[in-house]
């Protein structure tokens, strides 16, 4: 009995332990020899890894909940600030039946589903420039009717804003004079491609300029 179990032990050592030990040595040897290549490949690979699975769906997140807040100020801590491609409000020009969902960012998701605030500008209540883009064939087609003195409503979850149109202008798409993102007063700029209803891509843009007439000012931004 003892002799037979000794034989099994010896066989086990030879046929199980030896390949495992050799495999470990092989691992160490390979890693040591190819360390620069392996670490380079791993760091390149890490560039394409995300913590969570990527979502390719065309849906978007909506954080807009209508409010009747008509106070003069609102504390920044009470606001859920929007991130790119999130709907955080709506825009209306009642006189011309213009209505669009308002998104943060002006990429394909916002412009497919509504209009978008250029991420380099500001959201309503900041006291700065709000630059909003939309397609002339869809949500901003009605801008062609807008005239000086018309009222534009922008509703967000933290307050409802009104802006009065001061002028409309046509600029080239690459014109730097068409907007001032450093302005010290709250002003709304809507823009779309021009001419309206024309077939083909155009180089001109139609701008609507408006100044704030009501809506809460965001306070405590830099506390």
């Amino acid at each position: 009995m003892k002799k037979s179990s000794k034989k099994i032990d010896k066989n086990f050592k030879k046929f199980i332990i030896v390949p495992i030990v050799m495999c470990i040595v092989m691992c160490i040897f390979t890693v040591a020899v190819f360390y620069p290549t392996i670490s380079f490949a791993v760091s390149i690979g890490n560039m394409f890894l995300s913590d969570k699975q990527v979502d390719y769906s065309k849906s978007y997140e909506n954080i807009f909940v209508p409010t009747d807040n008509n106070s003069d100020t609102i504390d920044a801590s009470e606001i859920e600030f929007p991130s790119i491609n999130k709907q955080f409000g709506e825009i209306k020009i009642d006189k011309y039946d213009v209505y669009a969902k308002l998104f943060f960012g002006d990429g394909s998701v916002p412009l497919r589903n509504g209009v978008g605030v250029y991420a380099g500008s500001f959201i309503p209540g900041y006291g700065k420039t709000i630059l909003i883009a939309g397609h002339n064939n869809t949500y901003f087609n009605g801008l062609k009717n807008v005239r000086k003195g018309d009222v534009i409503k922008v509703n967000t979850s933290y307050g409802n804003y009104k802006y009065k149109v001061t002028s409309t202008k046509i600029h080239n798409a690459d014109s730097k004079k068409s907007y001032d993102l450093k302005a010290d007063k709250e002003n709304l700029i809507l823009y779309t491609c021009y001419p309206f209803d024309e077939l083909g891509l155009t180089e001109k843009r139609f701008f609507v300029y408006a100044d704030k007439i009501s809506g809460p000012q965001i306070v405590g931004l830099y506390d």
Binding site: M22, H135, N136, L199, G200
Partner: protein, 281 residues
């Protein structure tokens, strides 16, 4: 020459030979797996056909075209069935072929542009549009931008950056496979012909094969269990699915080779016992 008669020394020498053989089997298997997957144009074409790459790609091109259509006075319906999957397949296949042949990577969008211009003319007629409703310059600009979208989507991201490396290593891989296979065979012959007792030779061949099989098994198991493939994030769904499928296939091939090596090892173990029994008898 006394040293060659020392049993321990000979065992160590054979273990080193078995180790070299295992290393060469491992290297040869990995190189072969790469050569017949990532470094093979047929593999990529098959992967593109097996995944929903072309369907997803056509949807993505259509969505992007609809976006500029919204800025160009075109109804969404204009692009609904516009993107031709047959043309997309042809252009992607040409791109893949150019990649593996080392030719310049470019997409010929002339067929797409012709189809777009024809569709636009039809649209103008159907909607009663005349020259007052558009300018040729704006239509040309639209076609140019649409063509750019088509080209960007047909091109396979990161391929231009890795083309030179792939070309360089495709020929080198053949050499590496040959060298490692020859060394494996040489060690195998040394083990067989320098051993009086064949079961001992088989045992050392088993060590080499089993260690290489185990090593090859660790890599795909680690990759599959870590879930790293699910965390790959690439710009679009079509590209993400394609790259994920490619990587999954490479590791599946490595896993299959590992299993084959382990099955061979088990067969060698059995053979060793049979030969040993014969010697004892």
């Amino acid at each position: 020459m006394k040293i060659f008669k020392n049993k321990t020394f000979i065992s160590i020498l054979y273990l080193i030979l078995a180790f070299i053989m295992g290393l060469c089997i491992f290297a040869c298997s990995v190189f072969s797996a790469l050569r017949f997957t990532l470094f093979n144009s047929g593999f990529l074409s098959d992967t593109l056909n097996q995944t929903d790459y072309y369907t997803d790609l056509c949807d993505e091109i259509t969505d992007s075209l609809m976006d500029i259509g919204d800025a160009s006075g075109l109804d969404k319906s204009f692009f609904e069935d516009f993107v031709d999957e047959v043309l997309v397949r042809k252009d992607v296949q040409r791109y893949v072929d150019a990649f593996y042949s080392g030719s310049k990577l470019e997409v010929d969008s002339s067929s797409f542009e012709d189809a777009l211009r024809t569709a636009l003319e039809k649209y103008e007629d159907e909607n009663g549009l005349d020259e007052s409703d558009f300018s040729d310059k704006n239509v040309d600009y639209f076609v140019e931008e649409a063509s750019k979208i088509y080209v960007q989507n047909v091109e396979l991201n990161y391929f231009p950056q890795i083309q030179k490396t792939v070309m360089k290593y495709t020929s080198k891989l053949n050499l590496y496979i040959t060298v490692t296979a020859i060394v494996t065979l040489a060690v195998l012959l040394i083990l067989i012909f320098t051993n009086k007792w064949k079961h001992i030779a088989v045992r050392y061949i088993y060590y080499g094969t089993a260690s290489a099989g185990l090593f090859m098994l660790i890599i795909p198991i680690a990759v599959f269990l870590s879930g790293v493939i699910d965390r790959i994030t690439i710009l679009t769904r079509s590209l993400n699915d394609m790259y994920t499928a490619c990587i999954q296939s490479v590791f599946t091939v490595i896993l299959i080779i590992a299993v084959v090596l382990i099955v061979i090892s088990i067969a060698l173990w059995v053979l060793h016992n049979v030969l040993r029994k014969r010697v004892s008898n």
